[in-house]
């Protein structure tokens, strides 16, 4: 965990529900079931650290109950045994007048310990609860908008979705009055660096790419993914529930992506898919040129070199597969002594040993067309070049970026490859109209291309600190001609489908994972405030390191 000011991350500040301030009107009580990763990971430890702080410093005031309970109209009924803590700690110093003396405070704290321990402690327990969101405008993505809808979540899945009155709400379900709210599937960011970076300028927190070689398919993002990153809760707060994590676009073949859920007990629970796609890049940035920044040119320093290197690599994989299969066949014959292949040797026990090449092996599923290859490429002529190679080896291509490809859009449509467009904020060339890139999602969709939109900022590497702005990129595409429904699909269902999760995620359909977002308006508009995020049917506390700072300094 990063530092920084010395209080927020380390101090015991499990603020679950802050009082409504003029900056944040809390309308929905939060169920403190699924916390930030730290909270989830060790609820007991965390709680005892609170207790310890209370005892040692006598500076914690504890409030039982919630603002919502005290308000006239609780929007959510609270589960029995729920307790809400509001810590007043900040840098170990009291921040406001304690309403009770320190001794009473400690006594109170100890008194409620058993009550707090009855809080459901795992997502699993809580997922058994049935929640019905009622009265909202439902943007289903797959089958239109339901103006006055009901969505039922049970066992982590969407159990029912439809018009109010036509959907039976199970007995005992917790009913969320969501009149005036808009409800939509959790957003999916098709290119992030979550868990590969914490502070951009801090090399120690960067695991973005391995630049030592151009061909690095055996770099597995799963090996570097830091599940406790602070970036994830920040994005989640604005309705991002799933994402692809990819290495930065430095190498020709940069490594293999993971597909994650933005909540979970630990890394393994958050990674829904390892090695779901191969990250490739082609263009000027991949050339090893040295240049003003220093260094000297080395192979491949031109596009000719890049393509030759790629083609040779793919041929090497084919050769590797042939040898491996041949060795396996001989092995099957169980007659080890006759082998003469240099790479298939006999060990002392007589078993067949085939020296694995992890780099080449990593590429096999992609050369078989089993998994998608996401190719980052910008210029039209580069797209034509790399697509020729991809077709030569029958790769299953997803094009990424394509922001300077306006002259080959018809070709992209003819290839029938899906495209991650953007960043929509990439700059047009100097001779182009200001909206040459803004209109790209619309122009591609018009041609029948399946598109996704990522949160990437213009020009540079992906900055997932701004992943929370993903819906605004889609909204901006709408401003420049993309139909609204297509824009929403481009950050939900289309992404899920591109990466093999279309049957589980991306729309409000029965049987899909209950990753659901409730907001006070149009999700694509910058003014809209997300009120509650559900992941696997569990309401996620709307708390991040940033909301904690906000609340501390709003007192």
């Amino acid at each position: 965990m990063k530092k920084r000011t010395g209080y927020a991350t380390n101090a015991p500040c499990p603020v679950i529900l802050s009082s409504p301030t003029r900056f944040q009107r809390v309308k929905f009580a939060m169920n403190p079931v699924l916390g930030s990763q730290q909270w989830l990971r060790a609820p007991f430890l965390r709680f005892f650290s609170v207790a310890r702080a209370g005892i040692l410093s006598a500076q914690s005031a504890l409030f039982i109950g919630s603002e919502a309970q005290r308000s006239r109209k609780p929007a959510l009924s609270l589960p029995k045994g729920t307790c809400f803590l509001r810590s007043c700690c900040k840098g170990g110093k009291p921040q406001h007048d304690l309403r009770t003396g320190s001794i009473i405070s400690v006594a109170l704290l100890l008194a409620v310990l058993p009550a707090c321990l009855s809080v459901p402690l795992s997502a699993e327990d809580s997922a058994k609860k049935v929640i019905a969101i009622s009265g909202a405008r439902l943007l289903t993505v797959s089958h239109g908008t339901i103006e006055n809808g009901v969505l039922v979540m049970a066992d982590g899945k969407i159990a029912a979705v439809g018009e109010a009155g036509k959907v039976a709400i199970p007995k005992g379900a917790q009913i969320v009055d969501a009149r005036g709210m808009t409800v939509y599937p959790g957003l999916i960011d098709p290119e992030t660096s979550f868990g590969l970076i914490e502070v951009e300028s801090d090399q120690n927190s960067r695991d973005l790419a391995e630049p030592s070689d151009e061909i690095m398919p055996h770099m597995h993002v799963a090996d570097a993914f830091h599940a406790e990153t602070e970036l994830i809760p920040v994005a989640r707060l604005n309705g991002i529930t799933n994402a692809v994590v990819a290495p930065a676009s430095v190498d020709t073949i940069a490594g293999q992506d993971i597909f994650i859920q933005l909540a979970g007990a630990d890394r393994d629970a958050m990674i829904l898919g390892r090695d779901v796609a191969l990250a490739m890049n082609f263009g000027a940035d991949q050339r090893r040129r040295g240049g003003r920044a220093g260094g000297h040119a080395e192979f491949p320093s031109t596009r000719m070199g890049l393509i030759t290197q790629l083609r040779q690599t793919f041929l090497d994989v084919q050769d590797y597969v042939a040898h491996r299969d041949a060795a396996a066949k001989k092995d099957d014959k169980a007659d080890a002594g006759k082998d003469t292949k240099p790479d298939a040797k006999k060990d002392d026990k007589g078993d067949k040993i085939f020296k694995r090449d992890l780099k080449l092996e990593a590429l096999i599923p992609y050369l078989k067309g089993e998994r998608p290859v996401v190719i980052g490429v910008y210029e039209g002529y580069d797209i034509e070049t790399i697509m020729a190679l991809a077709q030569e080896f029958h790769l299953k291509v997803v094009l990424n970026h394509v922001t300077h490809s306006q002259e080959v859009l018809d070709k992209i449509a003819a290839w029938k490859v899906p495209v991650i467009v953007g960043s929509i904020y990439d700059f047009p060339r100097a001779n182009e109209r200001f909206d040459a890139v803004y209109t790209l999602p619309s122009e591609l969709a018009k041609r029948g291309v399946k598109i996704a939109i990522s949160s990437a900022d213009a020009g540079g590497p992906v900055s997932s600190h701004s992943s929370r702005n993903l819906p605004y990129a889609a909204g901006f595409a709408v401003a420049y001609g993309l139909p609204y429904d297509e824009a929403l699909k481009a950050i939900t269902l289309n992404v899920a489908e591109m990466f093999g999760f279309g049957d589980q995620l991306g729309s409000l359909d029965v049987g899909k994972t209950a990753n659901v977002v409730m907001a006070n308006g149009d999700p694509l508009d910058v003014r809209t405030d997300v009120k509650q995020v559900y992941i696997q049917g569990v309401p996620v506390p709307m708390v991040t390191r940033q909301t904690k700072l906000r609340d501390e300094y709003s007192k």
Partner: protein, 460 residues
């Protein structure tokens, strides 16, 4: 707070008239002929009445179905109706929004990467105008996002950087015609990570925040000494000493003296709460005022202390985590600081975000519940104040420059596109035109440097 006009800094270029103005004029004359051939020149703007617009004035609320009258490049009327003479051209703005031009108080556009003279931590005699490329495509792309005025600042590599240039975004006119007339001078200071990284990496002073601030204090001590020498000379002259020898002019110390004389607005790149306090203390110690903290991501922690200083902030809406000193950034910073009495502007520091500052303002409705009026002011009137041109532009008020943007949608939404952009009453961008949509420009722009930010790469 001293708000009297006497404290208003002098026009930036006047100090250098002796040494440079002649050259500038000569160059301007030489260019005029070429420019006329290359571009359509600015013509006397037509008088216009916009009718039935949603007029967001930035100074006195929003007028539904309002009218605005432009006469001779100025706003001549605003309200439910205006008293324009019969025959004035009418633009039917039914279903459209009209706002003041967007103003960016922190841009490094159009400088071809000449953002930092990172060869010394004190470079106050650098003038950004010397690097200003008025054909850079970034200016056009910002114009299409409704930006009419920009403060082009020196970067943050140096504790005391260079002097800014204020432009009106009149894309297509020649360089001098793009300078904001009579805008006060501003100088860029920095603090924190960038100076200490740039010089520390070379094993030079400063390599710590202690070093940073000591470099600054030393510079002001040098300036005070220079001023004392000047005073002594002037005293001799006043006494009639005809043999008195004038001290050698030192451009660096002269610029610093102008800071101490209050002739330059001080714009400080500063992130951390403790550094705002140190900067204010040093400003008090040496007797100058800080016009604005730029970035100012931790202002929400000490806004109550800074508000009485009348120092504004020019901040990002939601950037965070790009460096250690941006780790405590929260998107509620702007509104929280505003509620504590700090004047808040939003800024781009980016050729990307400058194109949609209106959306950045919209985020303030989301993050902290700013009213639409407060939000639009953060990208118009408040940045105008930071630059010191709030008497001329930044709101839709009678007498001000007719710097206006007509939008197809609520400008605080994601969906707004600038339809037409007027500067001094003249149409500089019209999205309905084919090609670039620039009535005053046709040709080829410059610029492959897309970042437009000094904060990381160019800080070196």
């Amino acid at each position: 707070m001293h708000t009297s006009e006497s404290l208003r800094p002098v026009v930036r270029r006047s100090l250098h008239f002796d040494t440079r103005a002649a050259g500038v004029i000569a160059a301007a004359c030489a260019c005029a002929g070429l420019a006329a051939a290359a571009h359509a020149q600015q013509t006397q703007p037509q008088d216009i009445v916009f009718k039935n617009a949603t007029v967001m004035t930035a100074s006195h609320g929003t007028i539904e179905h309002g009218s605005v009258w432009i006469h001779a490049g100025k706003i001549a009327g605003v309200g439910a109706t205006v008293n324009a003479p019969a025959g004035t051209a009418v633009v039917d703005a039914t279903g459209l929004w009209l706002t003041p031009g967007i103003i960016d108080p922190h841009s490094h556009s159009a400088l071809d990467s000449d953002v930092n003279e990172a060869t010394s931590p004190v470079t106050p005699s650098m003038h950004m105008i010397d690097a200003f490329d008025n054909r850079d495509k970034a200016l056009y792309q910002a114009l299409a996002g409704g930006v009419t005025t920009e403060l082009l600042l020196h970067g943050s590599a140096n504790m005391i950087g260079g002097q800014a240039v204020v432009i009106k975004n009149k894309v297509g006119l020649d360089r001098d015609a793009m300078l904001f007339p009579n805008a006060p001078g501003s100088i860029k200071f920095a603090s924190g990570e960038n100076p200490k990284r740039v010089y520390g990496s070379r094993n030079q002073l400063p390599s710590t925040r202690m070093g940073n601030f000591e470099v600054m204090r030393q510079a002001f001590e040098d300036a005070k000494n220079y001023m004392a020498t000047l005073d002594a000379y002037n005293a001799k002259v006043a006494k009639g000493d005809k043999d008195a020898i004038p001290p050698k002019r030192d451009l660096k110390l002269e610029a610093l003296a102008d800071v101490l004389r209050g002739k330059l607005y001080v714009q400080i790149h500063c992130y951390r709460a403790d550094e705002f306090l140190t900067e204010e203390a040093i400003a008090h110690e040496y007797g100058y005022k800080i016009r604005a903290f730029h970035h100012a991501l931790e202002m929400y922690k000490v806004a109550g202390k800074i508000a009485p200083e009348q120092t504004a902030i020019a901040t990002f809406t939601d950037w965070w985590g790009f460096k250690d000193e941006a780790w405590d950034a929260i998107p509620w910073n702007a509104v929280m600081s505003m509620r504590q009495g700090v004047r808040v502007a939003l800024k781009s520091d980016s050729n990307d975000h400058i194109r949609r500052l209106n959306q950045e303002a919209g985020k303030m409705v989301h993050y902290g519940g700013a009213t639409e009026d407060e939000a639009i002011r953060m990208v118009t009137l408040n940045p105008a104040w930071i630059i010191g041109v709030d008497q001329q532009t930044g709101s839709i008020d009678v007498g001000k420059d007719a710097d206006l943007v007509l939008w197809n949608h609520d400008p605080l939404s994601t969906y707004a596109r600038a339809q037409k952009v007027y500067i001094d009453g003249d149409l500089f961008f019209d999205s309905s035109l084919p090609g670039l949509g620039t009535p005053h420009f046709s040709g080829v722009m410059h610029g492959d440097n897309d970042a437009g930010s000094d904060d990381e790469e160019d800080g070196q």
